[in-house]
Symmetry: C2
Subunit: 234 residues, 2 copies
């Protein structure tokens, strides 16, 4: 009954969103970091983030942050986890809700905003970021690995047409492990989401490699139901 006792405005905190932006450049999985432009920790590498505004929900805040940096809209964004260590931000008590984004670096001409000093790093070799951001990145990678085995995720990361080698490179990069090629191809084919085109990519060999694309209907169906892709990691 005692409204004042329950809703106590001195309990209010800042809420931030931080985006773990994964991109695939057709060879390796990359992570986009920015040099932080304000105190504290100015000049240090950081995830791209911003504060939640009263006029938006968390998904909208994450989409705004991503658009400010990359110019991109309608990018795959998924809420990951909320971080709340009391002193995680030294300026003021701030809860951060982490989101991760998946981008095909090739498919989009990403215009990284000139307001930001941003750089793509290899997912297995990036500088130590500020605050608890490395925790967030590690958790996002765990989530991405689980998703890669249970849902099709290539659509978001690969170009529209891609070779089987690029798909395998993506998975090897996500898991940071070599994958048995024959096993991988037969497992991926059995998922029934790929369409082999007539076209070939001849950039890496004279014979060339067939280009594949996703069957969007089957892809979306699989996305709803999930599957178990039991590929062999070496």
């Amino acid at each position: 009954m005692n409204k004042i006792k329950r809703y106590n405005s001195t309990d209010k905190v800042m809420v931030a969103v931080d985006c773990i932006i994964f991109g695939f450049d057709n060879e390796r999985l990359k992570l986009l970091l920015i040099k932080r432009s304000f105190e504290p920790e100015i000049g240090k590498w950081s995830l791209m983030g911003g504060f939640l505004k009263k006029s938006e929900n968390l998904d909208q805040a994450a989409a705004r942050v991503l658009k400010n940096l990359t110019g991109l809209e309608n990018i795959y964004l998924e809420q990951l986890y909320s971080y709340s260590k009391i002193d995680r931000d030294p300026v003021d008590r701030t809860i951060s809700v982490a989101y991760f984004a998946l981008i095909s670096i090739d498919k989009y001409k990403i215009q990284i905003s000139k307001d930001h000093d941003a750089k793509w790093f290899d997912i297995n070799d990036y500088p130590k970021p500020i605050f608890d951001h490395s925790k967030m990145i590690k958790k996002a990678l765990v989530r991405l690995r689980r998703k890669a085995l249970t849902y099709p995720i290539g659509f978001e990361l690969l170009p529209e047409k891609f070779t089987m080698k690029q798909l395998q490179d993506l998975y090897e990069s996500i898991f940071n492990k070599e994958i048995d090629k024959r096993n991988f191809i037969s497992k991926v084919i059995s998922l029934n989401v790929l369409i082999k085109t007539e076209e070939k990519d001849k950039s890496t060999s004279k014979k060339g490699a067939f280009l594949y694309r996703f069957d969007e209907n089957k892809y979306n169906e699989n996305k709803k139901q999930g599957y178990n892709l039991s590929i062999k990691l070496k």
Copy 2:
């Protein structure tokens, strides 16, 4: 550099935690709801919740809320998702971070605090709760189903010793589907986390049913690694 511009205290919001408390009474999966004791929506069924305090992180807030209601400590609690629709709470802008808890109703003598009017409902038959709480419950059930197929979860929900039928009842209740008994038993045995005791439960038949318990080491190992329990749902 402009600290004031970035950290704007008018952006501050209330942060709540809401707990989806699942319990197993050796027959069915249950959900604990309380009658809300303050406005708005006083007297309506609700998840147990509370506001984050400045002196605690989200995990601690969820544990405090759970202890206030049930008297229990060291209960399995997992952060589920953060909810942020602008008008989800009509009194003040409030982000809610949902947690779910798993309790063996039998193993613990749960002393539901007399400050709260709480009740266990069957997971497939509970009254419509306030705000976005039914969304939270549905998402928690999806998470629990996924976990049930990839990690051992029975330890948290079952009594210390249990029959194979109780384990199957738990899974049937989680999935709200009948499960093929022979397939279930062979799949569960193959996970290698169960120890068959010499004891029998004779409450349901003269012949009795052997009691099992979890091998804690193997259970924890499986918990780290995960597995794929491909049981057949009818």
